[in-house]
Structures are given as structure tokens and as C-alpha cells.
């Protein structure tokens, strides 16, 4: 049924229903007697009318046009598309977790609070930070929270001339966007030839207007920045703070902690490192950890324990305030907690080991046919610069599209911006050697095709339900809803 091409609106038929609600067991009153007529909509809404079977068939057919981690290999760099354990899903759906209201009395939600309390502690231990807020809804939201914490710290010291955040040129676009949202100007510093922070440039960039530096380590190229202690010293000596973007934390679990590297604020992506599903684009979760000096500014509430009773602590007079409704994405927290219990300290370390082994194994094979700008030991991911032998006009986009025909989700392409024709590959630890070997073979075949039959690549994909949808047309002739 891959050819199914209907919208739900196109299978609607008057008088069909897909639900049944209980009859009212009270006397029904005319609605106009309950709510004044001036507020009532006299028109019928133009919503679909479909049966339950229609709904199930329609969305099952749509799901068949999708590709998930459960479908196959998903080496999307920087996204950590690891397997999403099924028990996580079951646990988040337990009645005692799924069906509790955020404003129930604390005595009714002790189990939730205990889970959150333990998760806070686990994440503190993993990151080497002193206190954690579980509130941020996503990575970008965690970043924003973190930068607001940095701002609050400087403001509390009346150090108000610090209006700049330093970001390396390899950073994800969210970093500068986040800093701007927190009211900062951005200074971009170039990477050195090894793909790491150029210490000289950093020394020149810092000053008494430096609020902080945002960094991932390992960085977007997949390289661990050995100069991290020196970087931290330069920024701290200038009076700035260090922000750790946890996008790449999967490489170093149990090996190194941002807190020990000198970072003051860190966010984790539970949907990357801690196996909660990406959901086709959320919901994720982006907890933020801080060192002692920044604790007073955390968003409220934080879960605390007092005599075996758990409670929500709002007593942070210097808090930046609230950054999200209620207490965060609790359903995602349950999944991440389940994962940490399943893996344990030993399993998390094993995960990082195998993630790094997988990346380096792929790199070692693929560098034979693809350009590897920096040939060294990588962490959990690495970046190729397109085909090695680029006599033809085959570009990275063509390689990515051809991978679809081979049944793979392509790597991240054209990012980071500092590598031309970038292919950013992150296999994660949940992929077997057999899967990697098959992927290597596909990539090698594609390299061969690029020489022998470039047209096959330029016109790829050939086997997908749609082929290279026209993005220019979508942006020029804007259709963002069904209009019959």
C-alpha cells in the first residue's frame, strides 16, 4: 500500500463516525441557556467524518511511508539515533505515570517525585554537576535555559557589561540563535586545522564583555578537544562561564564529565544520549545541570527530599523564573530513568565504547573512497568531505539520495558548515558489525557508481514513494493546509 496517496480529508464521508461517547445521565439543557448565544458558533466545523477503521488504515498506510530506527540503520550525525528500548514505552504508559494530573496533592504523586529526584541525582553524577533542572522541553530549550542562567549569574554580580557569547564556527545553528534569544551578541571563532578551538583566537576574543562560551565536546566533527582545560581557564580568567552542549555526550559516558572539564552549565538531550524516542521530531527533553555558583538561579521547582518525603522546592529567590508549564516532559523522564536503570554504570560506559568503536570502524573503511579531511581517532561520529575522486559532478546530496535506494537513512549532510560537501556519520552503539559492514558495502558501491554511472546518482532515489520533492515550488507557491 505504498502507493496510498489520500489525505484524511479525501476519505471523509458525511454521517460517518469513528467514536462513541456515553449518553448524558443528567437532564440535557439547551446550550443557549448555559452559554450566551453571542459566544456560540452557529456554523459546523469542517472536520473529517471517518470510521475507526478508516483512521487505522489511513495512518497505518502513512506509517509505511516512514523510516525509523526500527526500520533500519540511521547514521544521522549529531542526532544519536540509537535504538529506543520497548520497555521504556511500556513504563511511560503505566497508569500510575500516564494518568496523574500535575496539580494533584504531593501525597498522591510521591512515586513521580521520587523518580525525578533519582534522575536528577543520576544526571548530576553522569555530568559532574551539582544540581539539575528537568524542566527544559528539548535541547534548544535546555540551551536557552542555560544561557539565561549565565546571564542571571552575571546580573547578580552587577557585571552587566558582559553582552557577548562566543561560539565556534563548527557549532550548530541553535547555539547562536539561542544566545541571541537571551539578548546576547555572538562572536564566532574559527577552528584550527585540527578542527579544534584555536586557543590564540579564543584568547583574543575574550574580554570583560565575555558572558560565556558555548561548546560541545567532543565537537561537531566528532573530535575530543584536548585543550578543554586551557579553554576553560581562558574563559574563566576573563570572567566568563562555559556552557556545554550535550549533543555529543554519547561518546564519553563514564569516561569524562563536563563538570570535570571545567564547564559551568550543561544540557543533556534525553532523546539522544538516553534512548528516548525522537518521535518524528519530538517530544524530547533537555535537562540542564549547573555548578554550585549557578544553583540559585535555576528555574523552579526542583524536586527535593525531606524525611523520606519528596516535594517541589520553589524557594529559589534568585531563580530566572519558570521556563515551561508544570515540571518538564515527565513522560520522557520516565523513559530516560528506565534506560539508566537498564544500562547501569557499566552499560552506559559500554555504550560509549561501542559507539566510538563503531564510528572509527566505519571511518577506517569509508576513508578509502571518501575524503576524510582530518585522519585521526574520532569519538562517536566523524565527518567526510564528499567523494574522494570527484571527477564527476556527483555531490554529497546525490550520495545521500542514492543511500535511500539502498534502504538506509542518509547521514547528516552539509553540516558542519566548515567542511565542504560534509557527510556526518554517527552509527551509535546499538548497531552490529554486520549492519556496519553492509552499510560500508553500500557506500563503496555508490562510490563506484559515481564513476561508472553518475546519472543513476544524479536522479536518485529511484525506489522511494516520492523522489526529490520540489522544495523551491513549496516555498514559492505556499500550500500549508488542505483546501479541498
Amino acid at each position: 500500500m505504498r502507493n496510498y496517496d489520500k489525505l484524511i480529508f479525501e476519505i471523509s464521508k458525511p454521517d460517518r463516525i469513528g467514536y462513541k461517547l456515553p449518553e448524558l445521565d443528567i437532564e440535557e439543557k439547551p446550550i443557549e441557556s448555559l452559554i450566551p448565544e453571542e459566544f456560540l458558533n452557529k456554523e459546523e466545523l469542517n472536520l473529517p467524518e471517518v470510521s475507526e477503521v478508516d483512521v487505522i488504515r489511513h495512518y497505518t498506510n502513512l506509517s509505511n511511508k516512514n523510516y525509523g530506527v526500527d526500520t533500519g540503520f540511521y547514521p544521522l550525525g549529531s542526532c544519536t539515533m540509537k535504538y529506543n528500548p520497548k520497555i521504556n514505552e511500556d513504563m511511560a504508559r503505566l497508569d500510575g505515570f500516564a494518568n496523574i494530573h500535575p496539580y494533584q496533592p504531593l501525597s498522591c504523586v510521591q512515586g513521580s517525585l521520587e523518580l525525578m529526584y533519582e534522575l536528577q541525582n543520576y544526571l548530576c553524577e553522569i555530568s559532574g554537576m551539582d544540581e539539575i533542572t528537568l524542566q527544559p522541553a528539548a535541547g534548544a530549550h535546555g540551551e536557552l535555559t542555560g544561557v539565561m542562567l549565565i546571564k542571571a549569574y552575571h546580573e547578580s554580580r552587577n557585571d552587566t557589561k558582559r553582552n557577548k557569547i562566543i561560539v565556534p564556527d563548527s557549532a550548530h545553528g541553535t547555539n547562536p540563535a539561542t544566545a541571541a534569544m537571551a539578548g546576547y551578541e555572538i562572536i564566532e571563532i574559527k577552528s584550527n586545522k585540527d578542527g579544534l578551538v584555536d586557543l590564540e583566537q579564543l584568547r583574543q576574543a575574550v574580554g570583560d564583555d565575555t558572558a560565556g562560551l558555548m561548546l560541545t565536546n567532543p565537537n561537531t566533527l566528532g573530535l575530543f578537544d584536548k585543550g578543554i582545560k586551557e579553554i576553560a581557564k581562558i574563559v574563566h580568567d576573563a570572567g566568563g562561564l562555559l556552557y556545554y552542549d550535550g549533543a555529543n555526550a554519547n561518546a564519553i559516558l563514564g569516561y569524562a564529565r563536563p563538570g570535570d572539564m571545567g564547564f559551568d552549565v550543561v544540557h543533556f538531550n534525553l532523546h539522544k544520549t538516553f534512548s528516548t524516542p525522537h518521535g518524528g521530531g519530538g517530544p524530547g527533553s533537555g535537562p540542564v545541570g549547573v555548578k554550585k555558583d549557578l544553583v540559585p538561579f535555576l528555574p523552579v521547582p526542583i524536586v527535593k527530599k525531606d524525611n523520606e518525603k519528596f516535594y517541589l522546592d520553589y524557594d529559589y529567590p534568585q531563580s530566572i523564573g519558570k521556563i515551561k508549564d508544570f515540571y518538564g516532559h515527565f513522560g520522557i523522564l520516565v523513559r530516560a530513568y528506565t534506560y539508566i536503570l537498564s544500562m547501569g554504570s557499566d552499560g552506559l560506559k559500554k555504550a560509549s565504547q561501542m559507539a566510538v568503536l563503531n564510528a572509527n570502524y566505519l571511518k577506517e573503511h569509508l576513508k578509502e573512497d571518501y575524503y576524510l579531511p582530518i585522519d585521526t581517532i574520532y569519538k562517536h561520529e566523524f565527518v567526510l568531505g564528499g567523494l574522494k575522486d570527484s571527477l564527476s559532478d556527483v555531490i554529497t546530496l546525490d550520495v545521500a539520495k542514492r543511500l535511500l535506494d539502498y534502504g538506509y537513512h542518509p547521514p547528516t549532510v552539509y553540516f558542519p558548515l566548515i567542511i565542504n560537501e560534509a557527510l556526518m556519520i554517527e552509527p551509535t552503539e546499538t548497531e552490529s558489525k554486520e549492519t556496519l559492514d553492509e552499510f560500508i558495502e553500500a557506500m563503496k558501491n555508490i562510490a563506484k557508481e559515481a564513476k561508472e554511472n553518475p546519472e543513476t546518482l544524479k536522479t536518485a532515489p529511484h525506489n522511494t514513494v516520492v523522489r526529490r520533492p520540489n522544495e523551491v515550488k513549496a516555498a514559492r507557491d505556499i500550500i500549508v493546509k488542505y483546501e479541498g
Binding site: E471, V472, A475, R476
Partner: protein
């Protein structure tokens, strides 16, 4: 890449065509080529006033968004509304399709801009 004689140019790839106390402003052929298929032009409003170097318009393609910086200070007197419905005009002919007409505030600012020859060698250097 096409460069037209008789216009003034900036390093950010804008052109200025002077007409008495007024100037037409657009982006160069080089700029449209680098952006690729242009899908949207964010025009300023008539009567808006800008200082030289202000971002006064924006041009978007699928893969990029570029601010257009006003090469000379002045007040917008007319905008090219055709670009709203058909942004691809900039791809078709970037010099024919100006973005805005501006009343010049200080004609001496023109002296700081590049001539077509200067701009051509600037493009060569950039390559």
C-alpha cells in the same frame, strides 16, 4: 557573472543606480547566483528611513537567507511589489529588478562605493 557599467557596488553585493536625488537599489547577479532559487523577498515599507549599512530588506532561497544592507542613507519612496508575487524575477535579471527606490540623504556617500570595474576585480579576488 554579469556586472553592469554605470552603477555603484558594495562588498555585500548590492548595486545602486542613481537617478537625480533618488537611487534604485538591488542585489547583483553574483548575489542571486550564490543564493540559488529565490523564494521570497522581504521588502521595506515606503517612508521607512535607514542609515547606510542598515539591513533594510532580506532575500530568501530554500537553503539560505541573506539580509540586504542599504548602501546609502535615505528614505524609501517606492518598493518593487512585483517581487512579492514573483521573487524569481531576481534570478531572471537581478539588475532589471530593483528592490527599492530611495531618496538620497547624503550624495557624498556614493563616493565610498565601488565602481563596476572595482566590483569586477573585487569578485575576481573573492573567487
Amino acid at each position: 557573472m554579469k556586472v553592469l557599467k554605470g552603477l555603484y557596488y558594495t562588498e555585500d553585493h548590492e548595486w545602486v543606480k542613481v537617478d537625480g536625488n533618488y537611487a534604485y537599489i538591488g542585489i547583483t547577479d553574483h548575489a542571486q547566483h550564490n543564493l540559488g532559487d529565490i523564494v521570497y523577498v522581504d521588502l521595506p515599507e515606503v517612508d521607512d528611513e535607514f542609515d547606510k549599512g542598515d539591513a533594510f530588506a532580506a532575500v530568501e532561497s530554500v537553503k539560505a537567507a541573506a539580509d540586504v544592507y542599504i548602501p546609502v542613507s535615505g528614505k524609501v519612496v517606492e518598493v518593487n511589489e512585483e517581487l512579492i508575487d514573483d521573487p524569481a524575477l531576481l534570478n531572471a535579471d537581478a539588475f532589471e529588478n530593483w528592490i527599492a527606490k530611495v531618496e538620497l540623504k547624503d550624495k557624498s556617500e556614493l563616493d565610498e562605493l565601488m565602481s563596476s570595474d572595482d566590483y569586477e576585480s573585487f569578485l575576481e579576488e573573492e573567487e
